[in-house]
């Protein structure tokens, strides 16, 4: 069936609503993104279906939905009363708990921080969901579910009542900035491409989410794929592109599957394809796989990869908006950026600007990982403080340890220490703190984390992911890693710190693309925030956090040792001696600092020094 005009779309949506009203009152939503499935959601889903059918209760319906972001408690199941809107979320659900949960028994998740009890009155809810509004609420494989949530209404409005320039204006006025990390004003980018007179233009969705620990875009594609398609049609119309390409990493098979399905469904309704809504506008898209190269998140590299070439950045200008794919004007936006578009169209630019800060309106999705109690995917208004995110939504540091720093912006960003936790964060404040927004990865570190080691980890990442084109990035990254390795091994000198600074400056100044230009950031930021840790490694040959194995020694406390021999048996190099029921001793010359004894000791007799 083809939908030829907004009226037909409204009629269809109304019809679906009527049917939905007659259907089940209780929805059982099983979170089945890649993360949920990995945590065991599939048997849980099956168990609930079985239980519901066993009960023969027609009021209940089991749905597979996208990720709700509660990574800390996957698999999760939400029991939603459609009539009252009341819901309860259960975490760490096992298949055998299906019956109990349906009876209201199980581990309930404190919900208010994540989801407002009442959507109109958020109360103490720290999140605001624009991008993730449908994820976890609808079956991503059902276009009907998307219709029911107002899907394709924004597109209908754009294609039938707005001129392309008006769309660009609206996005410009909304102040939406690119969520891929750079924060370039989206409307401005579009207006450059829109101004090009070329017959052929291309619209590319950058879904090559590559930051370690970042999975914002995956959640959207797996949980709400139609929103991305709708946004791309709108953007295509705005800039005058008839062809869209979703460049998605091959490591996201479920996202690809759901996008493909969504495209098929949309095409069947004529929502993509020729002459959409009889507007005379044609737009179709296809999926292009990325092969796991971080640098292909850089737009020129991404475009080259799509062209069948090796994904290596090339110099700008010309900017892709003027000459990109096949030398035609090309807009590259990231998934999260697109996911904001339908809401902006539906609710208006003014509404969008009420959320977030003046310089960075709207929300931002973050994936918080690391040493927080509640790791997960959250969406907060711009301007939320890090403290609210880490200690509110993240519920503080695990095991009662002390917060040390949080890394934002992934490998291109920097770390932020305790003293800046109350800064309301947006693009500009993060930059001022020496870090950056990036795509939204947020890694929380506690006192057990060594900041030199952290810097080394990120430098190793960018070193491995450098495309190899520019000398400073290719060789400089490797030498930077070598210097950090030297320091963490206890062989560093104070001169090395000067070398690192000079090297970092050269790499930042002379590299061609963002990867190289930002690669030294984690080092510079940790050196600025935690200079004493670097000095400790170099001058005292100590790792204060006890992380750098070369700089720590394991010592058996004779007071606590019971002579159980367990440590000696676990030691892979046989450097622990001692008779049964006598004190044991570690031969420091033979010890390889593997920590096996430390892990094995049941009497806390072994300590790191």
């Amino acid at each position: 069936m083809l939908i030829n005009n907004p009226e037909q779309l409204s009629a269809l949506t109304l019809d679906l609503k009527k049917k939905a009203d007659k259907a089940a009152k209780i929805q059982i939503l099983v979170s089945m993104g890649t993360c949920g499935i990995a945590a065991g959601a599939t048997p849980v889903f099956e168990a609930f279906k079985k239980e519901v059918s066993r009960r023969g209760n027609n009021d209940m319906k089991v749905l597979s939905v996208g990720c709700v972001g509660l990574c800390h408690s996957e698999p999760t199941v939400e029991i939603l009363n459609v009539e009252t809107g009341k819901s309860t979320i259960f975490g760490n659900v096992k298949p055998d708990q299906a019956a109990a949960i349906l009876d209201g028994k199980g581990e309930q998740i404190k919900k208010s921080w994540y989801f407002p009890e009442d959507e109109k009155n958020p109360g103490d809810c720290l999140q605001a969901r624009i991008v993730l509004r449908n994820s976890g609420r609808i079956d991503p494989e059902s276009i009907d579910d998307y219709f029911l949530r107002g899907g394709y209404q924004a597109m209908a409005k754009v294609l039938t009542s707005m001129k392309p320039a008006e769309v660009v204006d609206m996005v410009t006025v909304s102040g939406l900035r690119g969520r891929g990390g750079g924060g370039f004003p989206t409307g401005k980018k579009w207006s450059i491409a829109a101004a090009q007179t070329s017959e052929e233009k291309y619209l590319i969705c950058n879904a090559d989410e590559g930051d370690p620990g970042a999975f914002m875009d995956r959640a959207v594609m797996e949980g709400d794929p139609h929103a991305l398609l709708e946004a791309m049609v709108i953007a295509g119309y705005a800039i005058g592109a008839r062809h869209g390409i979703i460049y998605v990493r091959a490591e996201y098979p479920l996202a690809v599957k759901r996008l493909q399905l969504a495209m098929d469904q949309a095409r069947e309704y004529g929502l993509i394809g020729k002459n959409i809504f009889a507007s005379g506008f044609d737009f179709d898209l296809n999926i292009k796989y990325g092969a796991g190269a971080f640098v292909c998140g850089e737009e020129t590299a991404l475009i080259r990869s799509i062209s069948g070439m090796r994904g290596m950045p090339i110099y700008k200008p010309p900017f892709p908006a003027i000459a990109g794919l096949w030398a035609k004007p090309t807009i590259v936006n990231n998934v999260e950026t697109f996911a904001n578009i339908p809401a902006i169209i539906r609710k208006g630019a003014a509404w969008f600007k009420t959320i977030g800060t003046a310089g960075s309106p709207g929300t931002k999705v973050f994936s918080i990982t690391g040493k927080v109690n509640k790791v997960g995917l959250i969406e907060v208004p711009m301007g939320t403080t890090l403290r609210n995110i880490i200690f509110g939504l993240g519920e503080g540091i695990r095991n009662g340890r002390k917060f040390k720093a949080v890394q934002t912006g992934g490998p291109s960003g920097g770390c932020i220490a305790e003293k800046s936790l109350d800064t309301p964060i947006d693009y500009d404040t993060l930059k001022a703190l020496g870090s950056m927004m990036g795509s939204g990865g947020m890694i929380v570190m506690d006192e057990d984390d060594c900041m030199v080691d952290v810097a080394k980890f990120f430098v190793q990442f960018t070193m491995d992911e450098s495309c190899g084109k520019c000398t400073p990035c290719r060789v400089g990254g490797r030498q930077m890693f070598g210097l950090l390795q030297k320091i963490t091994s206890g062989d560093g000198t104070l001169e090395d710190l000067d070398t690192i600074k000079d090297l970092a400056h050269a790499v930042k100044t002379a590299s061609l693309c963002g990867l190289g230009m930002t690669a030294p950031n984690p080092v510079l930021a940790t050196m600025a925030c935690f200079p004493e840790e670097y000095r400790a490694h170099i001058v005292d040959r100590k790792c204060p956090a006890g992380k750098c194995t070369n700089l720590i020694s394991y010592v058996i406390d004779p007071e606590k040792c019971t002579g159980c021999t367990l440590c000696a048996r676990k030691c892979p190099v046989g450097c622990i001696s001692g008779k049964v029921k006598e004190k044991h001793v570690i031969d420091q010359n033979k010890c390889i600092h593997c920590g096996a004894c430390y892990e094995a000791c049941r009497f806390s007799a072994i300590s790191k020094q």
């Binding site: 110099y315 070193m463 450098s466 520019c470 400073p472 060789v475 490797r478 030498q479």
Partner: protein, 914 residues
Amino acid sequence: MSKIINITIDDQNVEAFEGETVLEAALRNGFEIPNLCHNKRVSHTAACRLCIVNIEGRPGGIPSCTTPVVEGMKVSAFTPELEKIRRTIIDLALSNHKDDCISCTKDGDCELQDLAFRYNLGEKERRFPPIWEELHKTSDFSNHVLDYDASKCIQCNRCIKACGEIQGKGILTFVNRGIRTSIGTGYEEWKDSKCDGCGECAQICPVGAITVKPVYSQMKRIRAKDIQRVVQTTCPYCGVGCQLNIATRKSFHNTNEGRETILQVEGADAEPNRGSTCVKGRFGLDFVSRPDRLQMPMIRKDGKLVEVGWPEAILFTARRLGEIRETHGSEAIAGLSSARCTNEDNYVFQKFMRAVIGTPNIDHCARLCHASTVAGLATTLGSGAMTNSIEELERAEVILVTGSNTTETHPVISTFIKRAVIKNKAKLIVVDPREIDLCRYATLWLRQRNGTDIAWLNGMFNAILENGWENKEFIAKHTENFEATREVMKKYDPQTVENLTGIPAEQLIQAAKLYATAKTASIIYAMGITQHAHGTDNVKAVSNLALVTGQIGRESTGVNPLRGQNNVQGACDMGCLPNAFPGYQSVTDPAINARFAKAWKHPRLPAKVGYTVTEIMNAAHEGKLKALYIMGENPMISDPDLNHVKESIKHLDFLIVQDIFLTETAQMADVVLPATSFAEKTGTYTNTERRVLPLRKVLDAPGEARDDWQIIQSLAQAFGHSCRYDSTDDIMREINLLVPQYAGITPERLAAGETLQWPCPNAQHPGTKFLHKDGNFTRGKGLFSAVDHMPAKEQPDKEYPFVLNTGRILYHYHTASMTRRTQSLPMYVNEAYMEMCKEDCDALGVKNGEKVRVSSRRGTIDIAVRQTDIIRAGSVFIPFHFAEAAANYLTSSVVDPIAKIPELKVCAVKIEKI
């Protein structure tokens, strides 16, 4: 001249040209901003990051190599901060580069070494430890002629771009990423790739990462400073006429009488090749130093060839020729001159045959390649040569290539075509029965059945008229015989043509449209058009196409037969044809004849048309011809129907072969005269674009080998003729007087480095870049020819069901007398093979590499099968280079009635498993 843009660099006013980059402007004005990835022959890369500068109003470091100059731009190039960053970057590059200067062939000629010196980065000044060992694992030494030492690679991208942008091949690429990034081909080893060893990558490498294998010298490591002399001269292989820089030195041991040997060869930055060359040019010249070079004259005594001194050889030869002339008349003697020898050699040779011997029988192997071009284009346009220059091809909007496997036969010309496609977005139309390399670059590939060229050419003509794509004004003003031709073309509607040729009607029309409506369009053709029993008509049909569309007589627009051999154009120009004196002046025209007789101080010159190559063999067979003087040809491999050729040669009373090796033909001779090779003599070659190129002496001749013209001169003197030239310059001066096209190509201009294209009527004339300017044809008006399709003379039948096609391959040259005597080229291919498709292989039950017996009505050879998908079922292809399985045992000597060119491209064979 480009517009001047004023900028400042470090507060100094600098005049830059519009379109220039900051780096180019800086370098031109003496600001030596360091750089490694920049090279003027390839596009900008901006990878080494050394050339970064600060530009007022723009944040950060800006790579000057990619930034165009803008009026008023203020550039800071050498601030302390920038210099510090550069030093750090060089330091980094050095840490990833094996410090092997002591044994590196690039020592003293290495751009990284230069920077290490400039920035004082000795070992103790460096801050970063060496890490190149990680990279060394990806080194690849498998290529036959090139080495890749990854531990020295600085990842500058130049080799990749040389391969992709200059050569248009795109074989080299980066592999791996991060610090492991290195150069590779995507194959396990370099040798598995399609790399053909042109060596463009080695020539452009700024360090010692990609280097040439030492194929020339006993010295395994050669540095720039080992070179004692570099001579720029002309390549002896194909008709492109690449200018080569040949580097030499003397032996360390003062052996070989202090003679020099070749160390290495590079493409010279000059027309026509602009720095490029192919695997033969770069790695295939070591044949000149082979020990089996002929060094002494030989005379057959008691059935054996015995070395003798020059006086005896000359006296004996002259006496025998004299006797035969006495007994059988001068017409019982014929001469085959050589497309491999210089213009001067050829000029003297034909003069000797005509004036001293008094025979009209002189021809050479152009008969086997472009006789139909010379005949066809001379008739329709007035001149049988390439109308345009090679370099113009790069800017043609449409290029139609037919019957030319350009990549293999004219490798450097193919790079111009590929660049036209890749860089300038030209549309390439390939018409060829085989899926040749150029098909990969083609917008359209029309696959005709072998021998149906007139049909598709006429079909395009028809489609052009049907659709109104013809150039009416041009036809009216500049052509004749249009109406009669139009009548004939009517029956070649696309559907009929599809039935005849197998080319889908729609493709034919598309091709016609592309070609006819282009602003500039060039046709390129070669043996696939000419080597047919209706070769002359084929050529005329090609010429029709250019005339009906007016696609001729402009830059990048014309009809371009690619001449095969280094001097086949010149040998024709010099009158080594049975019907023409030098400059295509008819022997039968009494006035011309008298003019030459006067110039050559000879009372009477033969005034009739003599025998052609094939007629010479027939006449010998019939006993009409008694003596044959062959200079630098090897008909025992190159001529059709070898059994017949062998019989014919055996019938001769006296055979003289003058060559550099004891070829298959020389082995049958009564007298063998040792000649010098290209490297040992002076003179000129005329390449396929009519450019007269100098040959400069590189080495001393081996033994007592002499220049061809000197040998001929000795013979003439033995006949009592007063012929006396002191040098090739003397000969050229005589050519200047007698050949109008060459009148202005004087020894003085050649010595001054001018490479002029004929016609060049006087000493002030700049030469002619393209012919028939503005429709003013050499013959007056362009002549349409009402040519009709004729099937090939020998069609496959039940007994001989396959169509055999023959041709050349990249790695060998003609009869392989030179290429098989090189170290490197036989490593690529050293065995005869026959291309056959899988379908036919399966039907015959033969596997790739198995030997089969191939027979025609004339002969039989045993040959290995190479299974390939580039050829269609029912046809096979054999390269004709290999004596042990010479394709020409099979080919037919049926000839074109006008040009007498044999039908080498089509004959019927049968194939049996053995």
